[in-house]
Symmetry: C2
Subunit: 407 residues, 2 copies
Amino acid sequence: MSAASPLAIPFPHMPQIAGATPRVARAGYKDWGRCDLTFVELSKGTTVAGVTTRNVCCSSEVELCRDHLKGGRARGLVVNAGNSNAFTGYRGREAVEAIVAQVAGHLNCAPTEVFVSSTGVIGVPLPRDKAEAGVRAVFDATPCSWEDACNAIGTTDTFAKGATASAIVDGRSVQLVGIIKGSGMIAPDMATMLGYIFTDAAVDAPFLQQLLSAANDRSFSCITVDSDTSTSDTVLAFATGKAGNAPLRSFEDPGADAFAAALDDICRQLAHLVVRDGEGAQKFIEIAVTGAMNDESARRVGLAVANSPLVKTAIAGEDANWGRVVMAVGKAGEPADRDLLSIRFGATQVALNGLPVEDYDEAPVAAHLKGQEIEIGVDLGLGRGRATIWTCDLTHGYISINADYRS
Amino acid sequence: MSAASPLAIPFPHMPQIAGATPRVARAGYKDWGRCDLTFVELSKGTTVAGVTTRNVCCSSEVELCRDHLKGGRARGLVVNAGNSNAFTGYRGREAVEAIVAQVAGHLNCAPTEVFVSSTGVIGVPLPRDKAEAGVRAVFDATPCSWEDACNAIGTTDTFAKGATASAIVDGRSVQLVGIIKGSGMIAPDMATMLGYIFTDAAVDAPFLQQLLSAANDRSFSCITVDSDTSTSDTVLAFATGKAGNAPLRSFEDPGADAFAAALDDICRQLAHLVVRDGEGAQKFIEIAVTGAMNDESARRVGLAVANSPLVKTAIAGEDANWGRVVMAVGKAGEPADRDLLSIRFGATQVALNGLPVEDYDEAPVAAHLKGQEIEIGVDLGLGRGRATIWTCDLTHGYISINADYRS
């Protein structure tokens, strides 16, 4: 790993999750002398939900995930680091199918209960021999910690990213743990976002999918590092049911609200961690959009601001250049009225109803921009739609990392 | 001006255009001891067409341009450099209306025959006193060269950008000259794109608008530096009619094809010059998309590639990272099939029908990427739609320019 991001957060204490057992091994996908193959064994009855990239050039792994998610059941997860296996045609597909067959044989389960992700360089078929030897080795490995598993799924990540949450459901305490890797919203080479959440709660697969999709809309879909969408992005949630609660099937069930809140919480934590490890990031930026015609419109305006290279470089330069925020709002393609637009940096209003605020106090704005946590408020003055987007600044570090990556 | 872009091209020899007389003066919008107010007087009967930004937070100048374009007639153009007058509410509007009244009084023409553009920092109302004094001064100035006018409309531009074209229309030789400023597709501060084309041809305003809109679709709408769309972008074409040809009204008229080709040519030249002065640009990149479902789909795919920070940084690093091109195609939101996609760098095919080309010769690819002019070919294999997009790479220079601009 490179030097940890200045925005890094220590890996939290993580409980074991009954029914979810991580192990790691060395497949040697790259010449890097570290574990790069992760296997999580899941107990019988584990349900699964997932969200995957919308990039139409997605990897075989993503296609397989989507297919297997239809069954809603999981017994095993394999994550390969160092090779994304994207854009590798039938040979890439064969390697994934070999892994699935191997794991299904070992666990005596249906192939559709096995999930595989890969992350790393594009266009090089995943070497089937290394994968198969790695999988054999990982079956014999002793169980490891979630932090070990998190390190084994990482690539260009500068720190291990994990989060926990809990809830009381049906009188039982249920635990959630999550690990994630990614150092851009995406870079298709070695910074693909892969996230995994494990809980001992019992949740029926369709309801788990409903909750995960909703949480995703408020977390992973609201972050961006560089606007580039991976060919491999995947978030999976596994529920082993070992906590013993009556399975959650809808919001009518006791504790469903609490579980949904915990899932929201862990997704948001994990999403923030990805931004904090954004390539070259020096500042964590929250963009709160209010007054839009609806929530989706607010999200698009927020993403236009968050993806603007000019806004991101201004923040990197600690420059309260709100004119660039105006520009980004205007280019978003969403309903907006220049003469109703108001903009705030931190707690200080700098533009109100389409006009700069005369004589606003620049001192608190300058102080806010010197910090690591930046807040930009955009009020469109049109309706009740709102969204919060998180991103990082655009720095020389991003250029250095990406202008000379493959070599 | 900063050091000229390494992609700079010398200002060409430019003919005078009968009926279009440029003059420059110092309004002193900034403390920079150079001419920053340009006035072009146009003879009676001059027609005008224009295209303006789609940014909904556009400046008063843009609103006025759109309004005055309805008349199709022009007698005067004023360009202010150093202050974009965007997001300045009624006070900004008043300054523009004062300039229009002043010029209309001087030329004894209708206010709707006067066009005003401003470029520079956002959010500071254009100082009306400086504008009025500057306009008075420019009336008394002696006519200047197109190069002087080009320098006076520039802001962060690193070189003066002009182009010429000619055509035979109705048995007469007609001339076109164009000047442009801009150092990003846009930066709303000081790199807004403003372009002006002057011709002595006689062209009716509706037909001139039709030709300019079509040329714009193949030139200015096909370039991007940083995906950020200005609040002030404007391109205007003025036709004085002094060449004496029978006015062009449609493609049925003799020479209309030749004039359209010349207008296309000058627009493309000017658009390329803006890319060549892109902030931090070290390489000029052409992205040729073929095989799309239609031309507009091809344009969107090309722009997705051209706007991808990961593609742009890979080119900056002279890295044939075609996986990033795959990613960008996939995220464009347009019809694409991973297994039909082919990618070329320079003349070398690196991926064909969804698979990397095995054992392709890396030497010519590496040599091509070391050059200043980069070609990327993307074939989607779906249909006959095609588009060509031009952009520049994303370098440390871009970060340096934009992370510390306002201060």
